[in-house]
Amino acid sequence: MDTNRKKINKLKVFSILITTTFVFALGIFFGHMINTSQLNNIMEFQQDLRTQTLSLELQYALASQELCVGTNWNLVGNELYNMGEMLANMESSLGKLDEDVLKLKEYYSLLEVKHWLFLKNVKEKCKSNTPIILYFYSNLGDCDDCEKQGYILTYLKKKNPELNIFSFDINTDNIAIEGLKDLFGLKGKNLPLLIVDDTVLEEFTGLEELNKLIS
């Protein structure tokens, strides 16, 4: 019997600590690498959206008088919605305060405001009845009903894919969102806030009421 077996082999423990730390560091490195690659993809997607938005605006500017017939001006809107879903998933994985998430959300909000202005213009020109919903929320724990409201809006969008919903994190720090707040007099109002066309709805709005407004 090797009586040394009982004794702690300090060198062995130390080597395993080093090995574990190395494996641990390697895991963190690979995790970050994969995440960065995914972030780059999302950023590329955002750039594509920007190009699409610009193309759409140009197409609109150059269109003939029949611009309201047969053109689906909301293709970008749907892409934006997909982007929003992806960002929401990313936020729940990486955390609300993750720097990359915040940056992507800021840029996303700018694209949303830009496309909202465009759609608003098209809607007026074409006298369309399709409602446009703006949704302001906060996910910093100061809005108990925001999650519920978000769920109802997702439900509505899934049921009515043609519906235009633009969601904005009220805490996103950019001038465009500040501008929207001023435009609709949102400061001091309780969240969640919905603007269905020009109607401002303060606090939680149920499915029934929303259905009435968009029908």
């Binding site: 019997m1 077996r5 009982k6 702690i8 600590l17 995790g31 982007m83 992806m86 109802i152």
Partner: protein, 404 residues
């Protein structure tokens, strides 16, 4: 933030212990060779039985089939005051040379102590009446006793027939136990000498007393006593013993309550084993057992809290859309694959587990396929483990009685 730190600490701990035990195993793989016995000492195998009329026959037959000189093998069955026909079943084996006794019910330890007074073997072991031993096991084990420091030799315990999901999960748990017991043996830190077929030197009981009567896990007590006296416990990875595992949640919970409360009680009684004096056992193996229990419980409670919170929120959300959740089943391409560092690290920990199971299968000559069982084990075992421990700790704190 605090939770993130906790999860990283948990993963680091899991990786460290996994790598440590794997390293220990690889470092000592030369010791896996069978130590051929130069002589065959007389061995007494005791079968304590209480209401085991259905399984006793199989147990005794497996002992009669042992590849060991018949004149060197003594089999003693002790009926511990069974209420069924256990004693009648046992008596059928008298003509095959099995010694059969019956006594008033007093618990497993009393049955074992009774048999110790009747045994004539130089080595003595026990086989629970719900377990079966493979024919080559004893021959593989006795060779280790040529080293005078070895006081006990443990076999590999495996699950006999995994018919239901609970048994499949236990099958992998037992295989993991086979690996760990071998790694503990290399560290001279085995702290459980399982009831089924651990072989001891008889003189240890003569000198240091028999089994601890009233102890919920007398096998843990004996192992800790051996360690306290500075002797060693070995393990033979391919000496296979099969045991019938509980197939009902309630009986499994009852078994774990007994094991875990017994473990806590015995480790408390032998708390002097912690610390530098007892080397690997006192500094690494016993503390890491407690750390893993604590981490599992915290992880379980946090996950349970989160799950309840999410379920409650979802219920409200479903209510708000009139329980029409069909639109959410549309195929969404907008999924963000979370490959956060934590998940990569968890995956690495998983790989250490897979490697342990693979090594166990190879060196303990386990031929059955365990793919699905392993998947089940990964998903569910930690939940069961934490749950059993929470119940056991609660019962221990409330000083509730648990019987064997």
């Amino acid at each position: 933030m605090l939770w993130n730190i906790f999860t990283y600490v948990t993963v680091y701990f899991g990786l460290f212990t996994g790598i440590f035990f794997l390293f220990t195993f690889f470092e000592n793989m030369g010791g896996l060779k069978v130590r051929k016995a130069k002589r065959f000492p007389k061995v007494t195998i005791i079968v304590p039985a209480y209401n085991e009329e259905t399984t006793l026959k199989g147990t005794v037959y497996s002992l009669l089939n042992l590849d060991y000189p018949k004149d060197k093998l003594e089999i003693i069955v002790v009926d511990d005051g069974s209420k069924d026909s256990t004693y009648e079943v046992a008596k059928q084996f008298i003509k095959k040379g099995v010694k059969v006794f019956t006594k008033e019910n007093g618990g497993k330890a009393t049955a074992l102590n009774f048999a110790l007074t009747k045994s004539t073997g130089e080595l003595v072991g026990c086989l629970d009446a719900d377990s079966f031993v493979t024919s080559s096991a004893l021959k593989k084990m006795v060779g280790y006793f040529e080293d005078p420091e070895i006081m006990a030799v443990t076999p590999s315990i495996k699950v006999w027939k995994d018919n239901c999901l609970l048994q499949k999960m236990q099958k992998v748990e037992y295989l993991m136990g086979v690996f760990l017991r071998k790694a503990f043996a290399y560290l001279d830190s085995i702290h459980v000498t399982p009831g089924p077929f651990t072989i001891y030197r008889k003189w240890f009981f003569d000198k240091y007393g028999g089994y601890d009567v009233g102890n919920l896990t007398e096998d843990i007590e004996v192992a800790l006593r051996i360690q306290r006296h500075g002797f060693s416990i070995e393990n033979v990875m391919d000496a296979n013993v099969y045991t019938i595992s509980p197939n009902k949640f309630k009986s499994l919970l009852r078994q774990r309550n007994r094991w875990y409360i017994g473990f806590l009680t015995n480790v408390f009684n032998y708390k002097d084993l912690f610390g530098l004096k007892h080397g690997n056992l006192g500094i690494l193996v016993l503390p890491s057992a407690f750390i893993s229990i604590a981490l599992s419980i915290i992880l379980f409670l946090y996950t349970l809290g989160n799950l309840l919170n999410h379920s409650f929120k979802n219920l409200i959300n479903f209510y708000n859309v009139g329980f029409d959740i069909t639109p959410f089943f549309t195929n969404s391409q907008n999924f963000y694959w979370d490959f956060s560092p934590l998940r990569i690290l968890a995956l690495l920990s998983l790989l250490t587990g897979i490697l342990m199971i693979t090594l166990t299968k190879k060196y303990s000559r386990e031929e059955s396929k365990i793919g699905f069982a392993y998947f089940l084990y990964l998903i569910a075992y930690w939940i069961f483990f934490a749950f059993w421990w929470i119940i056991a700790i609660s019962l221990k704190t409330l000083k509730r009685q648990v019987s064997w």
